[in-house]
């Protein structure tokens, strides 16, 4: 297994509140890694460090390293836009843009264009209509939504059901072909059927992508993840193979949490 993300001594402060305390962890490529823990334990704060979404919070300070492909994404000379293109994120509440289904998926490719090398010069150009159509179809198929929406791509993204909206958001993330996809409690606003579809999708996605999912559902972590990290009070208590974490946790705290005696 190669390492996709290596976080080292990661600390996050909101003003003086120490929200993430010295987290060091490796996330493997082409695996589903689950982050579990009680509310307020810093699990969302942690994955928001991986694509630098915490930059958007004015009083937030991040110290430490997040190495992706040998570069620290917090380095000053790293372009945050580039980081977020390579590391996608799906949020807790489905948040399609108030645009058509097609435009939702075409949004990011349209913005970024295609970078090509023509006669030794790097050039950026717009996608042709055919290329965009292909991206939209491929992304929607990959997100297991194509069959349901192929006849109404011009309808608004908001007209879909909650589960479909979340898959649309996944398709939107896939449209620019990131290496890593972060899921921040993607099923907490969905019903069980929609949840199971998303879970199947996540397991399928790990063939091509590295998946990190924050979840408050231990069952979900147990069902879909290869490795699990348990967070408590801003610290990473334990990380290991999912089977080991749920069957033979090494730490007392982890056992208390997964057996429901705490949290």
């Amino acid at each position: 297994m190669t390492t996709a993300i290596h976080a080292e001594d990661l600390n996050v402060y909101f003003d003086k509140n120490h929200a993430l305390k010295g987290v060091t962890m490796d996330i493997n490529k082409n695996e589903v890694t689950a982050v579990i823990g009680p509310s307020g334990c810093g699990k969302s704060t942690f994955i928001r460090c991986i694509n630098r979404m915490n930059d958007l919070i004015t009083n937030c300070t991040v110290n430490g390293k997040v190495m992706v492909d040998g570069t620290d994404i917090n380095d000053d000379d790293v372009d945050v836009v580039d980081v977020r293109r390579r590391i996608g994120m799906v949020f807790q509440k489905p948040n399609p843009f108030p645009k058509s289904i097609y435009e939702n998926v075409a949004y990011a490719p349209r913005l970024h264009g295609i970078v090509e090398t023509v006669d030794g010069k790097v050039k950026r150009r717009k996608h042709t209509k055919q290329e965009l159509d292909a991206i939209v179809e491929r992304s929607l198929r990959r997100a297991a939504l194509w069959e349901e929406v192929k006849d109404r791509l011009d309808k608004g993204g908001m007209t879909l059901s909650g589960g479909q909206q979340q898959r649309l958001c996944i398709a939107r993330t896939l449209s620019i072909d990131p290496e890593i996809i972060l899921f921040d409690e993607p099923c907490s606003a969905l019903d069980p059927i929609a949840t199971s579809k998303i879970e199947d999708l996540l397991v399928d996605l790990k063939k091509d992508y590295t998946v990190v999912i924050v979840t408050h559902s231990m069952q979900q972590a147990a069902r879909i993840s290869d490795r699990t990290a348990f967070f408590y009070m801003g610290e990473m208590v334990e990380m290991g193979d999912t089977k080991q974490i749920f069957e033979k946790p090494a730490r007392e705290l982890t056992e208390q949490y997964i057996t429901g005696r705490m949290g």
């Binding site: 004015t58 293109r85 509440k93 949004y107 958001c169 620019i176």
Partner: protein
């Protein structure tokens, strides 16, 4: 033991009425209702007065001449001329020019304050702009008369020192705070998770504003522009003091003009009650009313069309 609730109005079908509302609640309800009726009736009374006042003008003067006449000279002792075009043109010129200045500045200011400014900057600038909205229009008029006209005279060498441009710039300054206040509310109402979605896809701040925030806030922004434009069309004291009040038809921004509002305000002081001139002034007022009504209607239509696109 079953709890027995008092039941009234047994056969009551349709709307259910609560018979147990305390009298204090009921009194409050009537007071609030009365307040609503008073506002509506006041508006109706103003409109009726306007109609009644304007009505005789339809028979006493040639109404076609009123709308097409290019000379406004109501005070001529023998041959008064009531062509509204000079006033109408002046109103549109001043209001549109003001909008042309105010919209880009107002929008830029709104986007900066709502999306980019740090909380510290915002805490200073937002109240400052709101104070600007509360300054009485006569103060702006005074400023235009004394200071702004001098600046314009230095730069443009105008035909008249008090001119349409002077009024337009001053009006623009007055439009900006209204626009900023209303449009900023619209931008703030855009859910934050849409911004996050866009930024997480590698969009820049500006791309996010341009492609996600502004389209989502469009109806509110259009409303802000219309509100500001409505104020520009209806504003009286500032333009009266700033534009010089020449009633000659002119399309030159560096010449003196008189807007419809200024004509009403100036002429009404000296007009004989019940005269032709008196009724014509009401007609001009009615026209102003219709203009603002049409603007609001158009804006509503625009907003509706765009909203459908974003559904």
């Amino acid at each position: 033991m079953a709890l027995k609730l008092p039941v009234r109005n047994k056969q009551g079908r349709g709307r259910r009425r609560n018979e147990h509302v305390p009298s204090r609640e009921r009194a409050i309800r009537y007071v609030l209702m009365a307040a609503t009726w008073i506002s509506v009736l006041a508006l109706a009374a103003v409109f009726t007065e306007l109609l009644l006042g304007a009505f005789p003008a339809f028979t006493s003067i040639n109404i076609v001449d009123f709308f097409t006449g290019t000379v406004w000279n109501p005070s001529h002792p023998l041959y008064p001329l009531y062509g509204v075009l000079p006033l109408f043109v002046a109103t549109l010129m001043v209001a549109f020019a003001a909008a042309l200045i105010a919209i880009p500045i107002g929008l830029g200011c709104t986007i900066y304050l709502a999306e980019l400014a740090s909380p510290r900057v915002k805490a200073i600038f937002k109240p400052a702009i709101e104070i600007l909205a509360g300054i009485p229009s006569v103060i702006f008029g005074f400023f235009a008369l004394v200071i702004l006209s001098e600046w314009i005279a230095m730069v443009f060498d105008p035909v008249n020192k008090l001119n349409a441009l002077n009024g337009a710039i001053m009006l623009a300054v007055m439009m900006i705070p209204i626009m900023v206040t209303v449009a900023e509310d619209a931008i703030n109402a855009v859910p934050n998770n849409l911004r996050e979605a866009s930024l997480a896809l590698g969009a820049t701040r500006w791309e996010t504003v341009r492609h996600v925030v502004l389209p989502s806030a469009l109806s509110g922004i259009v409303a802000a522009i219309v509100l500001a434009f409505g104020r520009a069309v209806g504003e009286t004291m500032t333009v009266l003091m700033a534009t010089g009040n020449s009633t000659l038809l002119s399309f030159d921004f560096l010449r003196s003009v008189q807007t419809m509002t200024a004509a009403i305000a100036i002429d009404f002081g000296e007009v004989a009650s019940g005269s032709d001139h008196y009724h014509v002034l009401f007609l001009v007022g009615l026209m102003l009313f219709v203009i603002t009504f049409v603007i609001n209607f158009l804006a509503d239509w625009v907003v509706r069309r765009f909203r459908e696109e974003y559904k």
